[in-house]
């Protein structure tokens, strides 16, 4: 129990809050999680909840060491790359050049979502535009060399891996170009850098 109490206190400490994830999010997500477990139990019974919990525990175990590494990468990146550099290369005024740069960076970023998401947070906090962030994420999921080499060539063979890769080259740029007008329409605003 003291462990759980400590966790809740640390997680909801409002003094340390920077980007808005805090007590409110914590309790909302806890409530949604309880609801999801109840729904699963209601529709799939004990067995469903048991399977879900085993998969969940495996995934968390898999994820945590990678998450910690990803956050350390993004922590050091934040120190090494000044925000003004991010804003000028990937900010609202960077336009098509920003989309191309973001696509290239996404394609060479190693690692799974546990590295990419912390890097996206660094870029967002540094003033990158929605177009750049989305081009980066699209390139990272569809063009990252590391995934092609680890999974696709080994499992699907070089021919299918090649056709998959060639078919995805345009996607990040299309996504980036469409993102700016949609972000305006939806009201997503780029973070300003003080």
């Amino acid at each position: 129990m003291p462990l759980i109490k400590g966790y809740i206190l640390a997680a909801t400490d409002t003094k340390m809050r920077v980007s808005g994830i805090g007590a409110r999010q914590f309790f909302i997500w806890m409530g949604v999680a309880v609801g999801a477990v109840a729904l699963c139990w209601f529709l799939r019974g004990d067995e469903g909840v048991e399977n879900g919990t085993i998969n969940y525990a495996n995934q968390m175990l898999f994820l945590l060491p990678r998450l910690v590494a990803g956050l350390l990468v993004s922590g050091f990146t934040q120190i090494l790359v000044p925000r003004s550099v991010i804003a000028s290369w990937l900010g609202d005024k960077s336009g098509f050049k920003g989309i191309l740069v973001a696509t290239a960076v996404g394609a060479v970023s190693p690692g799974g979502p546990m590295v990419a998401f912390p890097l996206v947070l660094v870029l967002r906090n540094g003033g990158a535009s929605a177009a750049s962030l989305i081009a980066f994420m699209t390139a990272w999921v569809t063009l990252s060399f590391h995934r092609v080499i680890t999974w696709e060539i080994s499992l699907m063979g070089p021919e299918i891996a090649t056709v998959r890769y060639l078919s995805s080259i345009s996607l990040a740029i299309i996504a980036g170009l469409l993102a700016a007008p949609l972000a305006r329409a939806i009201g997503y605003t780029t973070r300003s850098v003080e």
Partner: protein, 174 residues
Amino acid sequence: MSSNEFFDPSMIVLWGLVALLAGITVWKKGKGGIAAGLRSSWEMFRQIMCVIPFAMLVAYMLAEVFPSELIGGWLGEGSGVLGLVIASFSGAFVPSGPFVSFPIAITLLHSGAGVPQLVAFVTGWALLAVHRVLALELPLMGARFVAVRLGVSIGLPTIAGATAYVLWPYLAQL
């Protein structure tokens, strides 16, 4: 999960990258840089741990409610544009990482799915994966960002599948 999944090459690459960046930080910014980097990592970790343990649980409970075996069957070579669209969106509902989605993709291929449909499926999983949106993107980036990203991405897996449809006859000959 077997132990070789836990310690796969991505783990070595990741921690190698951490060591490299820590080295550069010491070299450029000194010990104070390391302390600042650790502080900012810790702050992100604390925020993420408010949400991820619960969001992941939601994703895995919903995966039980909508099992991925429902996928497949309508994805053969002759399934055309409709097959591409179905493949794109079935990819989105594969509730896991590459160690699940690629084996499913191989199974689809062996059970008669066409290569363009396979490309649409893998791209759909990569771009639209519901579990990743729920567990990571929504809590970290906020609903508006997710709306913009999904809005621009929704047609992309079908575009990739259509491109593969054009390219595959040339590559298959090689």
